[in-house]
Point group: C2
Amino acid sequence: MVNNVWFTEYHNKNVALSVRVKDILYKDKSEYQEILILDTYDFGKVLVLDNTFQTTEFDEFIYHELISHIPLFTHPNPKDILVIGGGDGGTVREVVKHNINKVDFVELDSKVLEACKKYMPKLSCEMENEKVNIIITDGIKYVAETEKKYDVIIIDCPDPVGPAKGLFEKEFYKNVFKCLKDDGLMVQQSESPLYNLDLIKNIAKYLREAGFSIIMPYVYPMPSYPSGMWSFMLASKKYNPMEVDEETIKERLNFETKYYDEQVHKGIFLATPRFLKEAIK
Amino acid sequence: MVNNVWFTEYHNKNVALSVRVKDILYKDKSEYQEILILDTYDFGKVLVLDNTFQTTEFDEFIYHELISHIPLFTHPNPKDILVIGGGDGGTVREVVKHNINKVDFVELDSKVLEACKKYMPKLSCEMENEKVNIIITDGIKYVAETEKKYDVIIIDCPDPVGPAKGLFEKEFYKNVFKCLKDDGLMVQQSESPLYNLDLIKNIAKYLREAGFSIIMPYVYPMPSYPSGMWSFMLASKKYNPMEVDEETIKERLNFETKYYDEQVHKGIFLATPRFLKEAIK
């Protein structure tokens, strides 16, 4: 039997993406958001928060490989990692493939974590790893208050609405800068260059004001996100991703990837569309 | 008044993309297909053939810049160009920005040409250019029969169904090879690496069998096409796009672009996802 049940995300008032649904595996409302986990025909299991796709088994490899391996291979020896957000666990799963000491994993919503642990094990499979230190709190508050210093901070945030809004503000970036060692770097999910160019300009401006000397966006196709063209923003105190030796990456890349490799590492920055390069000049 | 009229493209049985429609500007049925031109809120004017997005004013710059400028800047001095398909005129519009002699523009369906000339002038604006030689015929037949030799052949084809099926078959690539000068090269629209990987493998195989020594796919985000991850395949007898000097491109790039520049030219090949590089090895 093929269900004719569809989930539709409205990207805005004028564009919508729909996927045919096999089953609704989980639905609940937390203090922060509505949580939905669907089983779909084409996108596999899907996490939806407030009616917005967060992650799908179909395309999560693109997002999670690129948010993790680009910064972690840019740093020559990342040991202490902070991940903010990403309750599905996909980012942490990629981070622990590296030779790290510890990843502090700060997630606001314990209900998302618990739901994904149960229904999306392909993503949440490293939640019990002894290198993973789960901290249930607001990432904005965490970076304001902690005295820890990290090599790499990964901000796997949702769209800048509701509780995540503060993850795109100047004060937050100043605190991220403070929480990084003198040679540290960060990466943040930074929305669609086609739909959110002004936001991306602001992010770059705030990061510059926070003190980062190297600020570089990178763009990739992401089927389940609005416009299918998505971006990350890398901000670094010292290391430039373009200066990493290909051979060094090849030696350190001792695990399987589907999207990332030592050529993608540089190519993805060079391939940044001209309109985006010019917008953040 | 905001219409609640939507056009929906079903990417397959399980995924659909919908856009809100302002107006239906044109609808007709030609010998080959159903032609629809819509005015939409987010995607601007849109050409739809057999219920499939062909081109939208929103994202056409990505597709048309990359299908044209990558091959034309790979060739050191492209003079004689053949464009097969792309009745909207967007590819030809980009081609005539180069210092060429002539572009033979072979389109099967004169009704598409006429409709786009009337309703999509942003794309079809170079149809009257004296360097553009419009030939209404089947591209498959054209390359089989012509004795002309080209520097660059651009195959701006629709999906491999109906009359376009033969544009993805071995015989066609052999004829394209024959129609290229000894240092010629071609580029073809080659579908989604996420949905059509087997097709892409076949294209690469046929191109190799046809005699091309350099076969390289490149990938980019394309909002209005299925999965949002789209590809072109470049096949060349002599020139490798990675070996073009950045300074040479900068000198020759004496017109405005939104997506392409001399860094994108190389970066887009390096950034090819690992799973695609491995699939066509």
